[in-house]
Point group: C3
Chain length 443, copies 3
C-alpha cells in the first residue's frame, strides 16, 4: 500500500516548506499576461513543465469542439493611454489587468467622453483595478482604478493597443502519471487568468507540486493532471478525450487555494460520489471547513458535470469565487496568497487522495464471534501505546464490519475514527491473517 | 403551455377584487340552513351553479353506498321555544344554528328541568351559539348562548320543531371542466354546514370562482369540482365513481380558507405525492405557512385517502379545524372571513395548479459540456435584465439537470429557484432548440 | 393474545414489590466469588435455578470453541498478605475483590518494593478497591485501596494465594421457556463478576424474575435465557448452538440495570432490527432515556453481533459501563443498586416484549372509505370514556393504515400513539370484523 501525505511529500521532495515553494511558483507566474489562448499560456506551461512532465497540446483556431469552436489566438505586445499632455497614464507594462482581455487592436485619438465608454472601474473599491475580458465579442477597453478614472481631465486622449487575433491555436497541458491501475484520478486547474494570484496561480502551483510528488510514488491510481484555459479548454479536452472518460474514477478541480479563508469543498453533481464522501470524511476530522452542494456555476466542474458526462468531479477551494472582495481585482496579488494556506490546501487534498488510494473492502477470516486477539499478542501491543484504547476500538470496528459490504471509509464513517486509524487497524489484522482483501476492490 | 395565476384570473374574469367577489358569494349563502341532505343543499348548489356549470345529482334515501346507507332527507321549516310568559326566546328564524341539525319534529310543553336536557351551550364562550347535529340518531335539541341558558327561569316551556325526515335523496354537485388530457385534478369542498362562514362557505366560494376561471382556460388537466355533504357525500360519490378513480392524478380538499391565519397544507396519506411536493414548493417561496402530516381525521381527505383508494389528495386550509375558538360556533360569521385571506388562499392554490399544469421533463439536446449560450444571444438577453444573474443560473440549472430524470419541479427544488423561473428558463431553451420535451410527460 | 406487563407480573407472581425481590436475589449472590469458570458460577446458577428451570452445561477445559479454547478452571479457597509484624492486612475473606481474578497460587515472603509490583489501587478513588483479573495470562496480584497502599511500611511481607488452575470445565446456565411459536427471543446476562452488584448481579436477578414470570404465561415466542461467563461463555454457547441460531427473532443483553441513572438502550449492529424499533417506541413514550448506536465493545452483544452471526441483539442498561465512577470497584455494592431502578428496568423490558409479542399486521375488511363506526356502536363506546377522542383517533389510524404493509408498531410510530392504544384499537376492530389478521404475521 502507498501512503500519501504532506509529511511524506516533504521527505520525498526534500522540501522543508512546500507552502513557500508553491508561493515561489506563483511569484514566477504572476507577471505573465495569460488569456484563453496565446503565448501567456505557453509561457505558463513551460514553468509548470519544470515541475511535472507535461505534454503540450495545440488545437488550431476554428476546430469544432462539442457545441463550441476554438477561437482565434490572442496576443498582445503593448497598450497604453496618453493624456492630453502626452503622459502615459495607463500602461499595460505596469499591470496586464489594465487591458480588457481579448481587446481588438486600436490606435486612435478621442475625447474623454468617448474614451470613458471603454474605461471600467470599481466605484466601491476605488483603488483596485478590475479584471475583465471580452471573449467571443469584438471590442476593446481598459480597466483603471476608480480614483484614477475620476481624476481624468477633459481633452483629447491617445489610445494604443498593440494586440492581434490570429489563426493560431488553443494551448493546454496534460500530465499522465501512471499508477498500478489504469483507473484515473483527474486533477484540473485553469491557466487563463492574467496577474491574479489566487485565481488561479494558486491552483497551478498546487498541482505542479503535487505532480512532482506523485511521480516519486508508485500510486495505485493513475493521475491525469490538466492545465486548461477555463471553459473552452475543458470543452476542448472533453471533445478530444470522450472515449477515455470511462477511466475516470474520481476528479477534483483545484482553484482559489491560497487565501487565508477556511477550506471549501463543492460536491460533484452526483453529490454522493466517492470523492464527495472522501472529502466529507477528511474535512470532518480537520477543523473549520464548509461543504457546499453542486451548482452548475463556478469552474470547469460545470463541464465535467454536464449531464452527458456526469463525471464524479468536485471542486476544492478556500473562499469561493465572489465571496472575497479581492476576487477578480488587482488586490488578488502575491500578498493575498499565503504559503501556510497553500500548504494546508495541499495537505487536505493529499489526505483525500490517501483515502481514495487506500479504500479497500475486507472479509474477516474469523467472522463468528470475535477472534482471540490476546492469544496473538495484539492486545499487548495495544496496551503499550498511549492511544492503545482507540487503537483497540479501531481493530474491533474493522473486525466487526468486514463482512464484504463495508469499505474502510464506510467503517471510518460509522465508527467516527479517522480513516488513517482504520487503515492501520486493517493492516495489522491482515498481517495476523485475520482479514482477507476483497478482490473487487483495488489491488 | 397554459399559465394559471391570480393576476391572470383577475384579467380573464374582469374581476378587480376576487377576494371581495368570494366574500359576496359567502354573504349570499350564509343564511341558508344546510345539512347533509335537504333543500338547503339544493339552494346552495343553485347559487354555485350561477358561477360554474354544475351537474346536480340526487341519490335516493336508502341507497347502499360502500359501508353506508344514504339517510332520510331532512328538512325544517320552523322551530322555536316559548318561555312561561309565551315569549319566543329561541327562534330558528333568527339563526339556524339554534336547532340541532337532523332534529326530529317535536311540539310539547315541558318544565325547564326537562327542556335543559335538550339545550346545549358553550360555558367558556358564553355569548356564542354552538353548531351541533344528531346525524344517524333520532333526537332533538337547541343550541343557545350560555348567558341565555343561565338566565332561564323555572316554569313550563313550549317547544316546537317543524322538521321532517322523509324518503327523499342526498344532493351533491359536480362540475367537469375538460382539459386537453383526460387525467383529472379533483377539487372538493363540503356543502353541509349551516350558517358558518369559514366552515365551509369559504371553500365553496373559492371553488365557485376557481371554476369560473378554469372554464375560461384550456388547461392541460381536466378538473373535477365536487360540492359534497361531508363524509356521506364523499362516500356516495366514491361508490358511484369507483371505476373512474384511476383518472385522478392530483386532488385537494378545500376548507377553512377565509380566516386571517396563515396557510396550512395537510399532506396526502402518501406524503410524497406530486400534490404534496407542489404545495411544499409553492409555500416555501410564499412566506408564513405550515405543512402538516396526514392524519385520518379532518374532512373528506379521510375518505379519498382510505387504504382501498389511497388517492393523492391533500387538504388546503388556513387555521385548521379546532385550532381557532370560533370553530363550529356562531362567531364563524361573515366578519370572521376576510376578502384578503380568501384571495390569498386562491392565489396559493392557483400557484400550485400552475406547477402541476406545467411540470414537465426535458432532455438537453446538448448534454455534453455546456452549450455556447453567448453565440445564441442568450447571455446578452440576460445581461439586459435586472434579474439577469438569477435568470442565467436558472438556465444553467435546467441545462444541467435535463437528463430525463428530473422534472422542472425537481430542478426548482434542487436549485432553490421558484418553479416560475425554472419554467421560463426551460421555455427559452426550448425556443433555442436546446431542450426537447420528454414524451412520457404531459403534452 | 398474551399481554406482558409489570402489573400483570406482580399479579401472577403474587409479588407486591418485584424491585425488592430482585434486590434480595442480588444480596444473596453478592458474597460469592465468581470468575469465568469455577465454583462461584455454579453456586450462582444454583440460586438462579430456584427461580427459573435451568439447564446447567459444563464444557471441559481445552474444548475448542470458534477461535478460542475453554481455559482451565480456576478456584480459590483463601488469600492474604501479612505485614512485617505478621498482621493480615489484606484478606480475601473480607472482600473477594482483593485478589486479582485467575491469580496463580503463591506463598512467598518478599520486601515491600517487590510486593508493590503486584498491588493495584485507584489513586483518584482512594477508598475503593478495584476489580481486576488476569485471564489468559499467568500472574497474580492484589487490589487494595490507595489509602492502604500508601500506608504500607517497608519490611518483609508474607503473601499467600491458595488458588488452583485445573482441567475442569466452564459452566453456564440456559433456560428455554417454550411459547406457541418455535421462534425465539434471546435474553442474556453475564455471571462471571465477583462482588459487584450492578455489574452484573442486577442483570442476573432481572432475568431470574422475568423467567419466573414467563413460565406462568403462554407467550407467543419461545424465550431462551442465557446466564453466561462474559465473552468465553458467549463464544462457547454460540459454538455449540450454531445450527439453531436461525430461530432467534430478537435478543437483548441485560446488564447494569440497577443504578439510579436513566435507561440506556444500545442498538443492535443492524440498527433497525425490530428489537431496536420496539425499544425506540417504548422509550419514546416513557420519559428520560438515551438510545446509543451499536459499537463493537461492551458486553456479549459483541459476540452475537459479530459479522458471521449478525443477530438482532441489543443491550439494555441504565448508566453504561465506564460512565459511572463506581464501575468495576468495591463501590458497586448493595447500596448502589436500587429496588426502584431494578423494577423500572424490568417494566421497560416487559413493555418491549409486549410490543414484540403483539406486533401484527392486519387488513381492513372495509378499505374503501371509512366504515360506519356509529352504526356498530363503536363511537358511542368511545364517547363514554374520558380518553374517547384519543381512542377514536387510534381506531381511525388502524383502519387507515391496515393495508397489509404496516404493522401495529408502524402505525403506533406514524400516529404518535403508544403501541398499547393501537393494539387495543385493533382488537376492538377485529371483534367487529372490521380487521383481518395477516397470516404472515405471528399467530
Amino acid at each position: 500500500m502507498t501512503t500519501l501525505g504532506f509529511d511524506d511529500l516533504k521527505t520525498r521532495l526534500r522540501l522543508p516548506d512546500p507552502g513557500r515553494a508553491m508561493h515561489d511558483v506563483i511569484r514566477e507566474l504572476y507577471p505573465i499576461c495569460r488569456s484563453i489562448t496565446g503565448n501567456g499560456v505557453r509561457q505558463t506551461l513551460k514553468v509548470v513543465g519544470r515541475h511535472v512532465p507535461l505534454e503540450i497540446h495545440e488545437v488550431p483556431s476554428g476546430t469544432r469542439v462539442l457545441d463550441w469552436v476554438v477561437p482565434k489566438e490572442w496576443n498582445i505586445r503593448d497598450a497604453w493611454v496618453k493624456d492630453p499632455s502626452g503622459a502615459k497614464i495607463i500602461n499595460f507594462q505596469s499591470s496586464n489587468l489594465h487591458v480588457v482581455g481579448y481587446s481588438v487592436p486600436v490606435r486612435e485619438r478621442m475625447p474623454l467622453t468617448e474614451l470613458k465608454k471603454h474605461l471600467f472601474s470599481l466605484p466601491d473599491k476605488p483603488d483596485w483595478i478590475a479584471y475583465r475580458n471580452t471573449f467571443y465579442r469584438d471590442d476593446w477597453g481598459f480597466c483603471v482604478s476608480h480614483r484614477q478614472l475620476q481624476s481624468l481631465a477633459d481633452g483629447q486622449y491617445e489610445v494604443f493597443i498593440d494586440s492581434a487575433h490570429t489563426d493560431g491555436s488553443l494551448t493546454y497541458g496534460e500530465a499522465l502519471i501512471a499508477g498500478r491501475s489504469s483507473r484515473e484520478i483527474l486533477l484540473c486547474c485553469h491557466v487563463c487568468h492574467p496577474s491574479l494570484a489566487n485565481d488561479n496561480l494558486s491552483g497551478i502551483s498546487l498541482l505542479a507540486l503535487l505532480g512532482r510528488y506523485l511521480v516519486e510514488l508508485s500510486p495505485h491510481f493513475s493521475y491525469r493532471l490538466l492545465f486548461l484555459p477555463v471553459t473552452i479548454g475543458a470543452i476542448t479536452w472533453l471533445a478530444r478525450n470522450e472515449s477515455a472518460l470511462s477511466k475516470i474514477e474520481h476528479g477534483v478541480v483545484v482553484t482559489l487555494v491560497g487565501d487565508a479563508g477556511g477550506i471549501t469543498y463543492k460536491r460533484s453533481r452526483r453529490g454522493d460520489a466517492a470523492i464527495d464522501r472522501a472529502f466529507a470524511h477528511v474535512l470532518k476530522h480537520a477543523g473549520e471547513h464548509q461543504i457546499v452542494d453542486f451548482t452548475p456555476y463556478g469552474y470547469d466542474e460545470r463541464q465535467f458535470c454536464s449531464p452527458g458526462f456526469d463525471l464524479p468531479v468536485g471542486c476544492l477551494m478556500r473562499t469561493p469565487h465572489g465571496e472575497f472582495p479581492e476576487y477578480h481585482t488587482s488586490a488578488d496579488d502575491l500578498a493575498f496568497v499565503k504559503p501556510e494556506a497553500l500548504a494546508d490546501s495541499l495537505a487536505k487534498l493529499l489526505a483525500v487522495l490517501d483515502v481514495l488510494e487506500n479504500n479497500r473492502s475486507y472479509l474477516s477470516e474469523n467472522p463468528k464471534g470475535e477472534p482471540q486477539l490476546g492469544r496473538r499478542g495484539i492486545y499487548r501491543a495495544m496496551a503499550e501505546r498511549a492511544d492503545g484504547s482507540a487503537r483497540e476500538m479501531a481493530l474491533l470496528w474493522v473486525l466487526n464490519q468486514s463482512d464484504g459490504k463495508h469499505s474502510l471509509l464506510d467503517i471510518a464513517d460509522r465508527s467516527g475514527y479517522p480513516f488513517e486509524s482504520i487503515r492501520e487497524a486493517a493492516s495489522l489484522l491482515q498481517e495476523h491473517k485475520l482479514l482477507r482483501e476483497l478482490e473487487e476492490g483495488a489491488s
